[in-house]
């Protein structure tokens, strides 16, 4: 894996393989972990893959869910109307949301009647291309999608900066920590007490994080 990715924004896995962190938490804890998607978490995909290909074929989201529930989509801040013609690339940001209320919600929604009202920020279809190299992109999830599909992406694995994960873990309450069911860092079982100091030790690196729920 080392040296596989570079990122236009300086985010990436360059020379060093990322640490591998497996967490098992209770369901309440999972609902806290998913909030990280509001700012975004890194996922892997193939450059040139369509939104459908990367989310459904690669990461296991169902086509029905993508078509029926993911009704507001942005690729690099541009509103997407067609998930089969918008393609990911290195360092891009893909944000997914359910239908939103109000006029703005109607205007921004995927292929909605009012989409013409935001034509200056509409994503233009990308030309088809052969599958490219492995890239990292940022996935953001909002509102209902956090709880509905956030756990799926966490369980299949995301990539996060060690510093960001440390800050997140340091902010957590006692009740959250009570939900901890297991911590495995690079194959080594850690206690809760050992975990954060280990994270703090390596603040520059990236972590390949998997979080699964267990009651």
């Amino acid at each position: 894996m080392a040296g596989s990715f570079t990122d236009d924004n300086g985010i990436g896995i360059e020379d060093k393989a990322p640490a591998r962190l497996d967490l098992v938490w209770d369901t309440a804890g999972i609902s806290v972990f998913v909030t990280l998607f509001q700012e975004g978490l890194l996922l892997e995909g193939q450059s040139g893959a369509t939104i459908r290909e990367v989310l459904c074929r690669r990461h296991g989201l169902s086509d029905d869910y993508l078509d029926g529930r993911v009704n507001t989509i942005f690729l690099d801040g541009k509103a997407v109307d067609n998930v089969d013609s918008a393609r990911i690339h290195q360092g891009c940001t893909l944000a997914l949301s359910a239908s939103m209320p109000g006029l703005a919600g109607a205007v921004l929604r995927k292929a909605g009647f009012f989409s013409g009202m935001r034509n200056t920020i509409t994503h233009s279809p990308d030309a088809p291309s052969a599958p490219g190299k492995e890239v990292l992109f940022t996935l953001k999830l909002f509102n209902m999608l956090l709880g509905q599909v956030g756990p799926l992406f966490l369980a299949s694995g995301v990539i996060i900066g060690s510093d960001r994960l440390t800050a997140f873990m340091l902010e957590r309450t006692e009740a959250f920590w009570k939900g901890c069911r297991g911590i495995l860092l690079d194959g080594v079982q850690l206690t809760e007490g050992e975990f954060v100091p280990r994270l703090r030790h390596d603040q520059e690196g990236l972590i390949r994080l998997r979080v699964v729920g267990r009651s």
């Binding site: 801040g77 006029l103 919600g105 200056t120 920020i121 509102n143």
Partner: protein, 578 residues
Amino acid sequence: MDKILRIDMGAEGGPKATVAPIGNYAGLGGRGLTSAIVSKEVPPTCHPLGEDNKLVIAPGMLSGTTAAMSGRISVGCKSPLTGGIKEANAGGQAAQCLARLGYAAIVLEGKPKTDDTYKVLINSDGVQITVDNSLKMLGNYATIDKIKEQYGDKVACISIGPAGEMKLGAASVACTDMEMRPTRHAGRGGVGAVMGAKRVKAIVIDDSGCKMRSPKDPEKFKDACKRWVDGLKTHPVTSQGLPLFGTNVLTNVINEAGGYPTHNFSMGRFPGHQSISGETQAARETERGGSATHGCHRGCIIQCSGIYNDKDGNYLTKQPEYETVWAHGGNCGIDDLDVIAQLDRLDDDFGLDTIEMGATIGVAMEAGVAKFGDGQAAINLVKEVGQGTPLGRILGSGAAVTGKVFGVERVPVVKGQAMPAYDPRAVQGIGVTYATSPMGADHTSGYAVAQNIMKVGGDVDPQSPEGQTALSRELQITTAAVDSTGMCLFVAFAAMDQPDTFQALIDIINSFYGLSLTGDDVAALGKSILKNEREFNLAAGFSKADDRLPPFMKKQALSPHNIVFKVKDEDLDSVFNW
């Protein structure tokens, strides 16, 4: 709802109430009625705070019935903020109570001859107007505490805070919610200042002993109401998004679109968005023992509101809405929900429009009065408004006045009213509505309902260049019509995606009133309301030049998309060509 209560505040010997049949205004409610009365009875060139202006308070056509979501109340007048016609609306209990007492409207007229402060009681025995100077300059919360002591907590109350008494352009009219707190505001356009000019501090509405209004065709009405509720409970926006996260669910999404006005409309994204998002807000409310799902009036089944408690778990304010969180939050660089909640509480207490105040503080921050991001400074500025200091009175007069006083070029207003939380450079079609709405920049002109029923914009391709103006026209017409029903704005999505649900709404009106309206009739109603409003503004001195966004929108590109507002003036002028 077949009578109108008129109170002549300037009558010889003191305020005088008369109740008369609704007459020529029959069949109208909400915005349809407020705009009809204002355009027919108020001289367009009158001074908004003078004796010739009238404050019209009207429940919607369906308020006081068992139809879900029907508790919106409209407040209309000539606006002291825009100088044009105004309708501002609010939730809370007042619409239902007033409608059950049979009143289609309350009209406050004339100008009192003394400095006394008045309180009005309306119940099934009639109307009582009394001087109550103990209420003078009290905040809305303290006012309601006094009203509760005297009348109990089962009444509804419409009141103004000190901002209304000082007749400031950002002053709102407050309505009490289900817990009898003054949290629901007809905020826009300075309607509170007109109530202040009439020196009416509080209108207490006691509907005890009154029944629900009864429909002409009870069976059909019941069936239509059931289909209506089923539709609202099925749609993901009205059954999940709004109840779970409230309107603030929009923060992350608008920010992602690059249309979230930040630091006084100088950027389209706010770095601290996730700290103030609806998702974060809902989690905090639940964690502190408040609530993320709460209605503003009985009969609301969407429940987009909530209860925001402070760090110690004590009630601080109702759940601040998206517009409030944006105005006091990202627009001022503030990423602390507790600060925003305190500002919301202060606005509600002083009786101020949260959009106008947030936009005004943004302008003041740009002028260097305070630093962007300084929450304590923002709190202090709002407190100055409540205290009526000279600076406070400038700020309380709104963003346009504040911009002038401090020499700021970037002032986000149309017709003198501050823009809401969507930057028109990113979402240009919304800019068309901001520019051309007779109300000034207004986000509520957005009832996007089932197209195949309404089709009021004609058969224009919505993706074509003319599409922008055609869609805005369609939205404004539909909004004007639905604003007359008393239905909450947030029914719109279910009514847009599910034609059966929109049909159920029309069937509710028809079965209640014994009518046979079609989508075309609804469109005709919307058009006639807009026509009244446009004619009033024209006679008040408005011209095409007022249907424009501020010049900076065409010159200063908005990040991250680096775009300016591009819709041509000719296109803006064609919005009302129907």
